[in-house]
Symmetry: C5
Subunit: 254 residues, 5 copies
């Protein structure tokens, strides 16, 4: 049996996707629409604020394309909180105008491929590195940012079986992969979260960027590194942009 | 033809998944909601109680994500009872506010890969082991627990064909798999049920845990053992948490 | 081009799957429900009776799981009759409370892999064998029985291409397969019907059994014989139990 | 790059599939139903008649199974006409009782694998052959016939890549395939239409037969010829029977 | 790691697909239909006009088949504009009669496989070539044209892994591919847009033609060139024809 890399877990994550029922929205009386907007704005603002107490984070994004109109991203310390948030959204008047189109459950994860020392003894590594890893586990969502979210798995087919490789070989490929990522430092922030045992694929990847072309570039470049070229299996991609809760009226008005 | 391992069967199992029609729920008069809550609470409580007579078990779980809001798990001695339970739920007023989103039919199974003696002559093995196997066939659902459910099959493709291997090779891999499972004793309880001939994949796996990270860890570690790495094909994963029937009002209130 | 085995065809078959719209049913006035029950009971009873004139057979089954609540199985001499039955069901008041969830069209078939003599000259084989084959082509549905239905195809991929094998090799594997089936004589009755050119996969398999565990066992054992292990591709599995038409009121009452 | 066979194109084709909303139909006043039947009967009769001017053909079929109740097949000189027919159907009162379940867009095609002379210089081949090819490009739909429709593609996977073979090898396989087809002359009429660039698979195949068993037989036999066994990828199969437009009332009455 | 080709990006693209709710349309009062037609005509005309300021382009197409009735294509300088257009459409009264059936998000892209000089130093290449490349990045939609749209990816499976090939090998195949395309100059205009990181496949291809048979021909021929035969994976194909916004009343009238 191939060696399992050590991992560390941070916040649990819920990506929650909704389509807007635009026909119902257009048909609703102005008064109902205002009430709905108040409730959803307050729902998001309240969760963004709570999140600032270092116990998570929350944000809403406008998604382009028919699969969804809105994506909420929530980071929290437990699944219970995420489960509650999901049900609390459904209590808002705004939820009347939405359908729950998709979702993804995961837990933020760092793995020991490239930093075995940290996993053996976190205190042994220098403070900067330790802080870096710790900050990866409790990510903050940048403001006014483009987002790309997609789930992925590693292949296990004959000739392309990630889970059958020596850990050294995997670590080497992950290092190349990581180095490529570092070239996008300052342009792309990424959150890697494991969904093994939690959702249909093995990881959820969330990329944040000021320039959407950087998202295209990094995903395209990475497709050529061995770990993706041979072993990456990708699910659906969602793309959009964060907006502040007070822009809900503008969002809904087109 | 490769040798078939002996198996023993226990209770039949129904995993039943429902989404809540939150729009209808919000729109319903308080009185109707109370009646619906009374009925579903009594529906679950009644079946949990019945189950205590050693003739099965029942529980309800809150599921996180858009695929389902609720999962009912029922263990019973016959398919007929499961079929009836499914239709009885639909008679409750609460069912008006739900859609039947998914389901899985299986029968609890132990196989002879790692304990051929037990299958040849159950009386020959020591009482402890016999009791252990027998208890695996009539599992109890832990209280206040996280759950992860997923169906799986063994691959039959060129180069990765489980059903074409010698039974010795399969038994060896199953032993490694089992040993890995034992390392999670006390942390993870698992129920393995065969759905061959009964539902779309070959087995349904239900994991219970106090700490959801253990679920992620065991499924991830197992992905590296040969039996999963090469031969495992996985369906959709559902994750959630058990709640007592008297918490239905709190569940529905967000 | 590999040699094509001879085949003989019997009755055309329609497996028709419906979900019940339980919300509409619960909301319907008692009087409408009674009328609907009368109509569906008479619809099934009439077709079961007609079938007894050796021109087909019909039955209704309660299906466990969300994919369907009811399966109707009809054997008839022509597609035209099956097509009419399907539309006649839709004329009943009961159909108002159902959705047409799935279906499968096929024609009962025996193939010449294991009995080439019968196909060259049916009169040459002994009467018992001839009668056996003839009875396979016009199957009767047992009463009070469990059922498992699934469609399947033979693979045509590199390394696992059934249609590229010598007929002798195929015949040999089919014989092993058939011998395994004979071990379940008295426990399992099976109907094999070809859907090549008629529906999405190549065959529809219907298994009847008094003990549902036998269904699991035979399908599991067969997965190890070469013809299934290497060449079988399976669709969705439906499992349920036959009930007499006069039990429709009990079925709908949970 | 492998050599591309020459092709000739005939009429554009639309296969249009509709389910009937039987609940709405049963609930509709007799008067509305009569008006709807008049409109659809006239819609079809009008298009069948127009078609007789050698500018296409049209027909309606009753489809067995849940995927569709009705299939319209239209041959026309341009996509524009097909697009208009599709929208014109939606203007009929009958369309109120239908949902658009599936469709397939293609263009009738003959390819030069087996008759290179015709493609180099159509005048050079004898008149009979030329007429034959020309008639294949503007097919007529037989009356009172069974139909089987399915889309298909050629595989492009390692070990089974049609598009990577020498044209001689392809031509040879196509000839065997064609010879097999000729054995069904008088029993089966087939229309081959390319959907490359037009719809999801590469060809649409429509088979017409007086005896539905012949459809099963030809598709089954062909599965053993190399071009299908190794290179054929099949989509969904629809089976049904043509009926004259004046039978719409009988069709809708069950 | 295989070398990544340089790329240049132009406008962002939204392909937006809608089905018409014909039942609702037929049922709507004449007055409401007129208002809806006015709004959608003005919605499209306005966006087509805006586009003429060299900041994008917009057009509407009638799509044949059940997947969609209408396709809108929008080229714009940012995702934000596309996102807004999508929501603005939903504000029109016409949107009441539509469902959002599909969509595709991408960014126009040229890659350096065949013109490395341009990418190293755009000024170094002759003005004609530079203008050509620049015009590819900001495409204009031809009037009165047939359209075929499909997403595609490059394969990454054992034996057919595009991302694992040397850049020279890829460049050579892309050149053959490009040469084949050039043979259709004047007949086919194509827009290639990357959707890596933005949508589910890797590119969206839009072909425009006066003669729809040319679309079939080019896609079929290209299927034989190595880059498609071995490495191309294709999604769904949509086919239709552009119409001027003032034809919306005729379009909706059949």
């Amino acid at each position: 049996m191939a060696e399992v890399p050590p991992t560390d877990e941070g916040w649990f994550v819920l990506h929650d996707f909704y389509t807007v029922d635009w026909d119902a929205w257009r048909a609703a009386p102005e008064r109902d629409r205002e009430a709905a907007l108040d409730e959803v704005e307050s729902f998001v603002a309240h969760r963004e604020a709570l999140a600032q107490a270092d116990e998570g984070d929350s944000a809403v994004f406008s998604i382009t394309g028919h699969e969804a109109d809105l994506m909420f991203v929530h980071f929290r310390e437990s699944l219970d909180e995420l489960d509650r948030i999901e049900r609390q959204f459904e209590q808002t008047a705004f939820a009347d105008y939405t359908d729950h189109a998709d979702s993804y459950v995961s837990v933020v994860e760092i793995s020991g491929y490239t930093a075995p020392d940290y996993f053996e003894d976190p205190e042994s590594v220098d403070t900067g590195l330790r802080k870096y890893f710790e900050s990866k586990l409790t990510p903050e969502i940048p403001e006014d940012t483009y987002v790309s979210f997609y789930p992925m798995s590693k292949r296990r087919q004959p000739g392309q079986n990630w889970y059958d490789l020596d850990i050294e070989e995997r670590a080497e490929m992950m290092e190349v992969h990581g180095d490529l990522g570092k070239q996008y430092a300052g342009k792309i922030e990424q959150v890697i979260a494991s969904s093994v045992g939690l959702d249909d694929m093995e990881w959820g990847v969330t990329l944040f960027a000021d320039d959407l072309t950087d998202v295209k570039d990094i995903v395209y470049e990475m497709r050529f590194d061995e770990v993706s070229a041979k072993y990456g299996e990708f699910g659906s991609f969602y793309v959009g942009r964060r907006f502040p809760p007070e822009d809900f009226p503008a969002f809904m008005a087109g």
